[in-house]
Amino acid sequence: MTDSTTQSAETRSGVEIRDLYKIFGSNPKRYIDAVKNGMTKTELNDKHNHVLGLQNINLELPPGQISVIMGLSGSGKSTLIRHINGLIMPTAGQILYNGRDVVQMNEQELREFRRHETAMVFQKFALLPHRTVLQNVSYGLDVQGIARSKSEPIARKWIERVGLAGYEDNYPAQLSGGMQQRVGLARALANDADILLMDEAFSALDPLIRMDMQKVLLDLQSELKKTIIFITHDLDEALRLGDKIAILRDGALSQVGTGQQIVLNPANDYIAEFVREVNRGRVIKAETVATPLPEGDAPLPEFKIKGGSTLEKAARRLAEHDQRKATVVARDGRPIGTIDMHTMLTAMVTPATVDDEDAA
């Protein structure tokens, strides 16, 4: 591990996207001012035959966290993530990392940036079919010009970490989809880059394998603390993985916040529609719906629940121990409130609406 992964979060740089616009077409610069002044995607497309890929994106991707970018097909997710490692260059705007603007880098600088600071995992895996698992995982190191004798142990270590020990000499075509994506993940991790870009990395996998991979990623992340940008069109996945979620619609940011914020306070009907079907018990945390501590020294329930646990988990623990009430405690053990089954159930089944018409 280099020191980038062991540094404390405060001294590390996240990725900052500023005033980003991307127009696809033969002469994008010509329309940038019109778009900045409010020309719509439809108008640009119909009248000028250019596609507005991204507009006015301002987004901070904090260091050491998983930021999820979500949106429907065609909303510009892939376009956005490819700006971060310069695979796509913007029509206007900046991508800042460690005080440098990716947009201003020349080819050589960009290559070095990609080799050392970023790694990418792809939806369709994009493994090299003529290389074995071991050779695939060491690909990034090969590109950096690191000798085989040094890169091989690193590659073996990561293959083991993603649970593929024993498959080193297989070719990708001999592996199942889930295993192939483990190779993709190991290949990205072997680079020891701070920024990990994952474009619908688990979308091609079937649900069970997908849950598996989410767990693998979360386990690794709890130790590695990389700056992960994860793309998905699946809200459950977003809520499960994302410390922060940004929702894209037609190339513009629709809402940015934590999973809880988005589920509890959707910014508009579009997002409300999105979150309606979500399993709220898995998103809302016990501390969010806890009743504040009673005044004075009233006795607290003896049973304790961590404030960060989801309602579903909390309810299950209460049920398992045959309890009706519990004290919600902070990470350091300090009590922050109380909670009972009734409160939890109510919070879990209330549908999300913008203006809460059901409550009226």
Partner: protein, 302 residues
């Protein structure tokens, strides 16, 4: 004279250039061409010297080595390429029949010639194909050129080649190369262009430079297609050696040409079959080799 159906002369017989003008134009071009060639004859000779040397060396090597050594060498190549006992046995039978009918030496001459022509075609075709795959403009320039090269009757090549290089083995090889190189170029271009865009993007995302992408990703992944190009190039070279014998190339082709002129039915066919035999050996070996290159894409069982 077409019957004119009462149409004016102009619309009935096509108004061609007058004979006199045609003759002038022809003489002007032909003389100009010859003049240029004569002027540069020293340079042309110097340029073809290495080719001449290479061709002679290889031909001497093939014809002067005892047949058993050559046969074993061929079988070794076939085995290494195909890993197929069937193809090796077929090759033994084919080569032995060639020997029995007294065509061994001529076959060796032809083999030397085809080997040289194929090597040159690969050395020229591969980089041209790579450049063509990298630039759309290059592709739009090269495509019509290749179309002309492939549809122009092969005898026509011989004319400028003979004017420039005279009669002999070297012009023969050059004519064969011109005829055999287009599939090499086309399939190299095609193979590289067909490489999965996502894989290329992955290489980019890991910071591969253009050279690393070419050697590490594009060429290995297009190798099966490129091998199909090599295979076609060999086949076309074998087909062209008969025509090339008209400008003084020896070997099986020359025998065929003589057989045509003298109506030697049996000799014609024996030599023809000898060519077919080598063609099949080359074809099966290179195809099996191409298949083996794709082995990694086969789904295994675990």
């Amino acid at each position: 004279m077409a019957s004119c159906w009462g149409l004016p002369e102009m619309l009935c017989d096509f108004p061609a250039l007058p004979n006199k003008d045609m003759r002038h134009m022809r003489m002007w071009i032909d003389d100009g061409f010859r003049g240029i060639v004569r002027h540069f004859s020293a340079q042309i000779d110097a340029a073809t010297q290495p080719l001449q040397w290479f061709l002679n060396t290889l031909e001497n090597l093939f014809t002067n080595t005892p047949w058993i050594v050559i046969l074993l060498a061929i079988l070794a190549v076939v085995w290494l390429g195909s890993r197929s006992v069937k193809i090796v046995i077929g090759s033994i039978i084919g080569m032995c029949l060639i020997g029995v009918f007294g065509l061994w030496e001529d076959t060796m001459t032809t083999l030397a010639m085809v080997t040289v022509a194929t090597l040159i075609a690969i050395i020229l075709g591969l980089p041209i194909g790579i450049v063509m795959a990298r630039s759309n403009r290059m592709q739009s320039v090269m495509t019509p050129v290749l179309d002309v090269m492939q549809t122009m009757p092969s005898f026509v090549y011989l004319i400028p080649v003979v004017v420039i290089f005279g009669i002999g083995k070297v012009p023969g090889v050059i004519a064969v190369v011109i005829y055999a190189v287009p599939p090499m170029i086309r399939l190299t271009n095609l193979g590289i262009r067909l490489v999965d865009k996502e894989v290329i993007e992955a290489a980019d995302a890991f910071g591969a430079n253009p050279r690393q992408k070419l050697w590490g990703v594009q060429l290995p992944l297009s190798l099966p297609t490129i091998m199909a190009g090599v295979n076609q190039t060999i086949m076309m070279a074998l087909a062209m050696v008969v025509v090339a014998s008209m400008v003084g190339v020896g070997g099986l082709g020359k025998n065929v040409l003589q057989a045509i002129n003298n109506q030697f039915f049996t000799i014609g066919f024996l030599n023809g079959f000898a060519l077919v035999a080598i063609a099949i050996i080359f074809d099966r070996t290179s195809q099996a080799f191409g298949k083996r290159l794709q082995k990694h894409s086969e789904v295994g069982h675990d």
